[in-house]
Amino acid sequence: MEWIALANPSRFLALAERLLPWLAAATALAFAAGLYAAFFVAPEDYQQGATVRIIFIHVPGAWLGMLGWAIMSVAALGTLVWRHPLADVALKTAAPIGAAFTFVCLVTGALWGRPMWGTYWVWDARLTSVLVLFLMYLGLIALWRAIEDPARAARAAAVLTLVGAVNLPIIKFSVDWWSTLHQPASVFRVGGSTIHPAILAPLLVMALAFTLLFATLYVSAMRNEILRRRVRTLRLLQVHAAQGA
């Protein structure tokens, strides 16, 4: 089967049914390994002590918050250029999941910041740009709810998504462009990671676990949205049939 064939909603549903049990099992296994490594293998940091364990949920939350918007930006192109209904579905369903992970990033960051920085929040460029990302997610969800026709809502949401994509490089490079309380990039950077392998390895396992969780939730939510649109179509057919009778 060519990959483009999956853009057919019925084929996507069939694939989702086969894929979801495997994705869920892989997610559970990855979390079991990641949490064991995070709590029983990774050492405490020589400066931060046990609070370094917040990194194992804070950093994946940040990555997936940004990944959600990146996926939505690709889907927005599918909506605006090809006007494909599955692109609309992909755009709509990523928003609440991306918002949830961005929320996790913000709150765990605040809970890490209070003991290490002495404050829950500071208006530096990294924290503010991630807060803007979260607010854009909420705005996008509100936009979807405000417009009843899914196709019209998708086009409006696609434009807003592409405009909002400007924020992604701002988040990534905010720690380089401005003086911030938030530390600079320490995992993916030129010259290699500055995190000790004993902490980096559990972090990458937890990042994999969160990514698999994101994929599981995303495929499930897309399946639900396709079913919701079928319900809407059937209701419209029912109304038309009643009017024609």
Binding site: R114, L217, S220, R230, V231, L234, R235, Q238
Partner: protein, 55 residues
């Protein structure tokens, strides 16, 4: 396992993340049940699709 003087912050971070993840899982599971039931009810009343919805 000893989290030291900042245990409350670590436990709060993990508890909140767990709550968000559980909420997301419940959201997709319950939504799936609702949509399947709505579809089944409509189909039981004889309402079926003629084709994929036109764009």
């Amino acid at each position: 396992m000893n989290f030291g003087p900042y245990a409350a912050f670590i436990l709060a971070a993990y508890s909140l993340t767990t709550a968000v993840v559980v909420a997301l899982i419940l959201w997709v599971l319950l939504d799936y049940r609702v949509q399947r039931k709505l579809l089944a009810d409509l189909e039981a009343r004889g309402v079926t699709r003629r084709s994929e919805p036109p764009r």
